[in-house]
């Protein structure tokens, strides 16, 4: 063990900065523990308790900033400390930079001439104007705002296309550009796989699976959910494919979306034919024949899309843990369920994760209802009341009107979960927990009391309640994936290793012998 201590006299950082710096410092490679805090007697007492007391720490006073870095060996200490010091310096620089506020996009573009990208999140009423200004200033745009008319979307995307710029959105919630996650995204390895996606959590899931299989991402370009509609015509997806085809670092392209409108699908597939790089197509519920005929690689699930992409990208198949489905577990759980416990209830924060599980269920089950069903016969009559197999997307407008997205505030899902857990006809409840930038700081932890309560209630009533939880995240995300999964397992929840496996497990458990694969 080696410790480096630096005391900065009368140095004050605000609390938000101190906490953020501490978190980042503890994630630096080689750092076993980093402490950045004020040198009060009580904090020094804590430092003594964790075995890091040194003469320098003893001398610190309440107005001093203490920086303590512990590494496994002396060789790493100096470099680890320098990395922490760099964080502090960057914080100061960033503070200085963020102090410059620009009242308009025009002035920002003039003030930062090197900028080539604008992330816009304003009220929908002003979003079009701001996006247009950004494009006029030769900035690529990621438009997080929604409530933009389809006519405006077409106009913005056409204008961007003519200028050779990307117009990501409106309603674009996920992107990774130059290894930087924007809005909702996960920390993934840099690599040679590019993604163009019209679906937020779908693209998060594919990027996370690519990372899990040993691959990495060049760029993840979001298009906005309406891009593949007839009206918009896939302008952004087509431009995104072209951009990745031209990008030297990208070797494989993955497309992620719900099924496009037929005429748009034709255009996208025609673009794939033109593409010089292999293209994996994951259009949920999409048509394999058409994709293969266009020279693309069809993927039925998000997991398959990621697996095909990493193999095409040159990752050795022998070294990949494919996370096979736990078949003995399925039999084991089936035996515990009573004949009345026939139904799945899927409660999702991620729309595409909900869609994927729902489509997997629909392959073998007829009576699958949802608030996002395309077939109007199976749209829930009342979104607050489940029918037979029900899959709820809590991120849909029905649930988010005037409220934060459930990935930020999961409270609406907790209430519904407890409601479903009391229903004696329910055999399986399947849920997602999304980690990463922009998400809740402890998505599993916040559901934990409800899951434990539900399990106990079911046990009291003499029935087994199967809860399947999937944590979307990587080992680089905060909070730690490993800790979130452990919490699930400790609470008696079955952990699914991917969105695909979550859907398959739920379906196979309730099939109870019929159509059993």
């Amino acid at each position: 063990m080696s410790i480096k201590v630096v005391i900065k006299r009368n140095t004050y950082f605000d609390s938000v900065s101190l906490m953020s710096l501490s978190t980042k410092a503890n994630q630096i490679e080689g750092v076993e523990q980093a402490i950045i805090g004020m040198g009060t007697e009580m904090n020094k007492g804590v430092i003594r308790n964790v075995g890091l007391m040194t003469p320098e720490v003893e001398e610190a006073t309440a107005g001093d900033l203490m920086i303590i870095v512990k590494t496994a060996n002396a060789d790493q200490t100096e470099s680890a400390y320098l990395a922490v010091e760099e964080l502090l310096t960057n914080k100061n620089t960033a503070q200085a930079k963020s102090d410059i506020k620009y009242a308009t996009i025009d002035s920002a573009a003039q003030g930062i001439p090197d900028a080539n990208f604008a992330v816009i999140s304003v009220n929908g009423a002003f979003a079009v104007r701001e996006a247009r200004k950004a494009l006029e200033n030769d900035l690529h745009v990621m438009l997080f705002s929604d409530n933009v008319s389809v006519e405006d979307e077409v106009e913005l995307k056409t204008f961007a296309h003519e200028k050779g710029l990307l117009m990501m959105g409106p309603d674009c919630g996920t992107a990774i550009i130059g290894n930087t996650g924007l809005c909702f995204a996960n920390a993934v390895r840099k690599g040679n796989i590019g993604i163009v996606a019209a679906s937020g959590t779908g693209s998060q899931e594919v990027s996370v699976r690519v990372h899990d299989f040993g691959g990495g991402i060049t760029q993840l370009i979001g298009t906005g959910g309406r891009d593949l509609s007839k009206e918009v015509g896939g302008i952004m997806m087509l431009d995104g494919i072209k951009a990745l085809d031209a990008d030297e670092a990208t070797k494989v392209i993955v497309l992620v979306s719900k099924p496009p409108e037929a005429s748009v699908e034709k255009k996208v597939l025609a673009q794939i034919k033109e593409c010089s790089k292999p293209v994996v197509v994951y259009f949920i519920g999409g048509n394999e024949e058409a994709v293969v005929a266009a020279g693309g690689q069809f993927a039925k699930t998000s997991k398959e899309a990621a697996l095909k992409a990493v193999l095409l990208a040159g990752i050795d198949e022998a070294g990949i843990n494919k996370r096979a489905l736990n078949l003995p577990l399925i039999e084991e759980v089936r035996a515990k369920l009573s004949p009345e416990q026939k139904y799945i209830r899927g409660l999702f924060c991620g729309g595409t994760l909900c869609d994927e599980s729902m489509y997997i269920a629909m392959e073998k089950l007829d009576n699958v209802y949802s608030n996002i069903q395309k077939n109007p016969d199976f749209l829930l009559k009342d979104i607050n009341v489940s029918q037979e197999h029900t899959f709820i997307d809590f991120g849909d407008d029905d649930f988010t009107n005037g409220k934060p997205h459930p990935m930020i505030d999961p409270s609406s899902r907790i209430e519904r979960f407890l409601q479903e857990a009391k229903d004696p006809s329910v055999g399986v409840i399947v849920m997602d927990f999304v980690l990463g930038f922009g998400s809740h700081e402890d998505p599993v932890g916040v559901m934990l009391p409800a899951m434990i309560e539900a399990k106990q209630l079911a046990e009291k009533e003499g029935r087994h309640l199967e809860i399947i939880g999937y944590v979307l995240g990587t080992d680089l995300d905060t909070p730690r994936l490993e800790d979130q999964v452990k919490k699930l397992i400790d609470a008696g929840v079955t952990h699914a290793s991917s969105s695909t496996n979550a859907g398959l497990l739920a379906r196979e458990i309730v099939l109870k012998g019929e159509n059993h694969e």
Partner: protein, 294 residues
Amino acid sequence: MIHAISGDSYFLQQIVETKFTGSVHSVFKHALNIQSGVDGEIFTLATQAMDNAPNTLIINLDTLANLHISQNDRVSVMNDQLLIEDKLQLATKTATRWQCQLPIFPSDSTSLKINVITVKQFIDLHGKSGGMKSSHSPISEFEAETSRMLKLRTNLLREELVSQRFDQFQKYAVDLVGLGPGLTPSGDDFLVGLFTVIHLENSPCSIYQQLCESVINMIKPLTNDISYTTLKKAAYGQVRESIYSLVHAILYGTEVDSIQALKKVLAIGSSSGTDIALGLISGLEANIKLGGKR
């Protein structure tokens, strides 16, 4: 013209009635602290995004960064204007005077009990971890150990309160001062919340008021100047406006009022707002329990 929109009466009085001098103690984006040249007390200039607070003037700026004020810059007063070197000339004459006047603890605690439960549930769900609220995934042994000590020591202090014991109150309170990450340590923030409740008129816990004041005499070396000033003011029932609003809403408002006021407190600092709110709740729960005995 840069001017104070509103300000703490005592600070405004210092500017008008004394030859206030001092130096800049610390500078942040939305607040800068001035250390009085007379007694070392900390006074604050805060941007209009902040709420009124003891020893604080709210000024008509969104950020202080463009003023380029640095630590140790000299502060003086001339013609009711506060001057920092040649970087800031702050007019104070038109500032609205503000002073914290804590509400009276109600005789009927029916809605208070409901509001306390609601607020606690909201903090469980939305409060920031890392301080009083322990994280399920602490980032380091230091954080885990700090949480453990905070929990242990706040429990001792709570127990002292609800048992109406006095012997160890000072010791347990002092043991919290300076404990925790952040500019204002979590233990200090918790005490700010607790001291607030102790200073409510008719508060069953008001028997501890004098002990709060004696705690202040012991803690100057145990925390930094900024946090010490906040604690000192709280020990005399002077707290920032958002804390006042939260207490008022819990005592006299609805559950919705309480949550709205709580959100503003939770937005203070990193985990500071959560720590303050938990201190308030501890005090209010003790009040409910002690009130029932009367």
